[in-house]
């Protein structure tokens, strides 16, 4: 394992300490709590928090700032933060109008955020939550854990954050976040595994010329393994799955081409170039595009494509300014 770290046990706290030093608009709670929050709090605004396992940077601490999150709660690498940490995040975000929790759909996150919301209620803080499940690689289901939350989560932060900034109520912000979730689909692929600092070696292997379509952001199994294909074929493969799941025909969309951490921007732009051609062919109009590393998986090489169907209301929130270091608009 070659990583720029001091001690595998301290990666989360040392990362957040560094992040806060590099971004004077946010503050770090300290080791053991692992919350990044805004230094300047707006009063009487719905608070927006998110969080989850670490290793997906800039998610979620990089999305704290004006126009997006009020606080982000980090767990250990790939493990949900505990309820006591989440409660601290809720308290940081609360300014009297309640707090919306944006949760990615993983069993651990759901259970920990649920308990944190019960603890918050006991302290007199109103909370609501939405669960992002945008990964079309997984069938949706109410019986099993169902669809995972991946890069589309960033759009939910953006829309909910902008709505809260404009003075919407907790219920209104929640409804808008849910509307956003309902209109998002994502699909990813991986080319190399990632290494958890505390484990020290890759949890799975991919052959030199092999890729896995549909792999999750923690290396969860995807749909198929196959040989590497061209950017054109890959764009077609990822988009086909998305378009089979949700009809974007004739609509305007926000597009995100997201890197998993180990893929150069050059390749992400090449992929976006192909994505744009296919969407144009299908009469899907791109309103706004985002190409970069937004929801990563440590040093995993790979990508995901996300589409968000927009109407005038969502466009307004998408275009609203954001000062979060990981997503400036």
């Amino acid at each position: 394992m070659k990583k720029i770290i001091n001690n595998p046990n301290n990666v989360v706290s040392e990362m957040l300490e560094g992040l806060a030093k590099a971004n004077p608009a946010v503050k770090y709670s300290g080791a053991g709590v692992e919350v990044i929050s805004r230094k300047e709090k707006k009063q009487n605004k719905v608070g927006i928090i998110s969080g989850g396992g670490s290793g997906h940077e800039p998610a979620h601490a990089g999305y704290v700032g004006f126009g997006m999150l009020d606080a982000a709660v980090a767990g250990n690498v790939f493990a949900s933060p505990s309820p006591d940490r989440i409660l601290e995040g809720i308290k940081e975000a609360d300014s009297g109008q309640g707090v919306l929790m944006v949760i990615k759909n993983y069993s651990g996150d759901i259970m920990n955020f649920q308990m944190a919301s019960e603890l918050a209620e006991m302290e007199g803080i109103r909370t609501a939550s939405v669960v992002v499940k945008d990964d079309v690689a997984v069938p949706d289901s109410t019986y099993s854990t169902g669809r995972r939350g991946i890069a589309g989560t960033v759009f939910v932060h953006k829309i909910a954050g902008a709505a809260a900034e404009q003075g919407k109520t907790l219920e209104e912000v929640k409804d808008l976040a849910q509307k956003t979730i309902d209109n998002i689909r994502s699909m990813g692929m991986a080319m190399t595994p990632c290494i958890l600092p505390a484990v020290g070696k890759a949890g799975f292997e991919l052959k030199e010329d092999e890729i896995e379509i549909g792999m999750g952001i923690h290396g969860e199994p995807g749909i198929t393994r196959q040989n590497m294909i061209s950017a054109q074929e890959l764009a077609d493969k990822l988009l086909s799955r998305i378009l089979e799941d949700y009809d974007y025909t004739g609509s305007e969309v926000a597009v995100m081409v997201n890197g998993l951490g180990g893929t150069p921007l050059m390749e992400l732009y090449i992929l976006f170039n192909e994505v744009e051609k296919i969407l144009a062919d299908k009469g899907i109009k791109i309103y706004r595009s985002f190409v970069g590393n937004y929801m990563t998986s440590l040093e995993m090489a790979g990508c995901s494509v996300t589409l968000l169907k927009l109407d005038d209301e969502l466009k307004g929130y998408l275009d609203y300014p954001s000062m979060a270091p990981g997503f400036r608009v």
Partner: protein
Amino acid sequence: MGFTLTSQDYVNYLNIVHKKIYENGDYISSLDAATGDGDHWSNMNMGLENLTAAGDELKSMPIDAAFKKIGMIMMSKIGGSSGILYGGAYMAASKVISGKNSIDSQDLCNALEAMVNDMIQRGKAEPGMKTMIDALYPAVKAYKDALASQTDDRQTMLLVKQAAIDGAEATRNMEAVKGRASYQLNKGVGNLDPGAVTMSYQIECLCDYIIDNLISQ
């Protein structure tokens, strides 16, 4: 008949199970690599490391308070699904033995039953879904059956231990419904569930500790 389990005993047991899980790190991580994301061992090991580090404090407490403290440590130090499931389970166990300085065999059975019920409720999981519940649930059932039929303590502990080991082994042919293994096309069939294996280690070590130290030979 009957044994008494104190906080001191429980801390002794935690030291033993920490050693067992520490030594089986590569094996547990390899199970997890097959079905999960590879962090179950490091999370469990870290949780137990924190528990054994708090050993002096834990053994000075009545056992109900020690269980509550164990729950809080597991919840805040492990995080993830295991942290909240173990944390919630220990807190639930603490409630059913509330007011006790030490516990007898019936209390221990009640505590384990409270744990498995809390995991089922909180995790929205049932036996047969390829989780740690599949080691604990049959162990609790065996424990209740043995107490109801007035089996002697030694035999009871052997039955509980075997039920946990068999339960963990049975996860090999189960399909995962919850957690990351459920995303696999074959739902993890053919692989043991690492959470069930570490659960069976804990029950095994607890039963062995009771047989070796608390029951007159």
